[in-house]
């Protein structure tokens, strides 16, 4: 897989980092604990898919963050001719870089450039299948539970802003590149937790989060 596509981001990140010329206050390490709201919002549009996700980011050096995101996903599609179910977990590891000049009024607001590695593992099955056959008669069958895994990379931009006393709202727009996905050929996964719908090696997604900042000193 062509990971080299992401190399163009390196000089961009270096420039962004140099632009965050912060010559003011003493740096205070902090962590943010967050919960993603986009999974619940998506569930309103696509009721067959439900994902829940939490995140933790730590500002270990001024404007440099390490981030971990983890979550669960569940799919249940019930149609007249079939039922498809899947459940699994996923996580992402990576880093964020703040490119926003910090104001004295809102010193904790950040505009972030993000890079992530993602991994997801799920089980899926089709306990009820009818294949219509007008001549020979409908065929009824099922597919037993099978596991599949996926690895992907993400690059994106996002914002976290303090709305009230260490409570933040944030969004992150992510471009995703699927590296590998393993599954039985008869049933490709419908949805990869943390990545999105399968069937394409690239995806664009949006995360909305509510976060709590934990001062570490």
């Amino acid at each position: 897989m062509n990971i080299l596509r992401f190399l163009f981001l390196i000089p961009f990140l270096v420039i962004c980092n140099s632009l965050t010329a912060e010559n003011d206050t003493v740096f205070t390490p902090s962590a943010r604990l967050g919960a993603d709201l986009s999974g619940f919002a998506r569930n309103l549009i696509e009721p067959e898919t439900l994902t829940g996700e939490i995140s933790l980011d730590i500002e270990w050096r001024k404007s440099h963050f390490v981030a971990i995101e983890a979550g669960l996903m569940q799919v249940d599609v019930q149609q007249e001719t079939h039922r498809y179910q899947a459940d699994g977990y996923f996580f992402r590891l990576g880093a964020d870089f703040n490119i926003l000049e910090r104001s004295p009024d809102n010193p904790n607001d950040v505009l972030l450039v993000s890079l992530r590695y993602g991994y997801g593992k799920s089980d899926h099955e089709a306990p009820f299948i009818v294949i219509p056959d007008p001549y020979w008669g409908d065929h009824e069958t099922s597919v037993s539970p099978e596991s599949f895994q996926a690895h992907w990379l993400e690059a994106g931009i996002g914002l976290k802003t303090e709305i009230w006393n260490n409570i933040f709202l944030g969004w992150s727009l992510r471009g995703k590149l699927l590296l590998t996905s393993t599954s039985a050929p008869e049933m490709e996964p419908y949805y990869i937790g943390g990545y999105g719908k399968s069937g394409s090696n690239t995806r664009l997604s949006l995360l909305y989060s509510v976060l709590y900042r934990i001062p570490m000193r």
Binding site: S38, A41, R42, I45, E48, V77, Q79, T81, H82, Y84, L100, E101, S103, D105, N106, D109, V110, L111, A126, I129, V130, I131, P132, D133, P134, Y135, W136, G137, H139, T141, V143, L159, K160, T161, E162, I163, L169, W171, L173, P185, E186, M187, E188, Y190, K197, G199, L204, L206
Partner: protein
């Protein structure tokens, strides 16, 4: 008096501007989930003049039924036939077809392996087949070749049947 230089918008302004714009993204990116794919995978037979697989042969008329359901034709009388599509039995690993050319008849016995395949959660499942063996009578048919053993949702011709020389059809 010196005018202050415009400042880069800060977090809350960015949040309001971008969140308002991004709220439209999920709606705009929502995919049409109507199933438009073909879910039946018929065996596709091309008729060709004997010793010539460049041009299709055209059969004036034919009728197809099965040994298993002799009273229910698969195809009632078809005219000017160069390509014939037959549904393989999704409930068994073999089936047979009788092709009635009106002056004479031939029978095909087909053996295959079946594999359930998910098209999409919107369209559901279909059956893919792998042809393993074909026996046939040679009353009108002069030869048969399996060109593509995998019967999936592609538009390939799976079998070539050679028949006595007739008026060539179009390519």
């Amino acid at each position: 008096m010196q005018t202050p230089a415009p400042r880069f918008p800060h977090g809350r302004q960015w949040m309001i501007i971008t969140l308002a714009a991004l709220l439209f993204v999920p709606v705009a990116c929502q995919e049409d989930e109507v199933c438009e794919e073909v879910t039946a995978n018929d065996l596709r037979i091309g008729f060709y003049p004997f010793d010539n697989d460049e041009w299709w042969a055209t059969i004036d008329s034919l009728l197809v039924f099965t040994l298993e359901k002799p009273d229910t034709p698969v195809h009632d009388t078809l005219y000017q036939v160069s390509i014939l599509e037959l549904p393989l039995n999704t409930n068994a690993d073999s089936c047979s077809f009788i092709i009635d050319f009106f002056e004479t008849r031939d029978t095909l016995w087909l053996e295959y392996q079946r594999e359930t395949h998910l098209i999409s959660v919107e369209c559901g499942f279909t059956m893919f087949f792998t042809l393993t063996n074909i026996e046939f009578t040679e009353n009108y048919i002069e030869g048969l070749v399996i060109e593509e053993p995998y019967v999936t949702n592609s538009l390939d011709e799976h079998i070539t049947i050679f028949v006595p020389d007739t008026l060539p059809g179009d390519l």
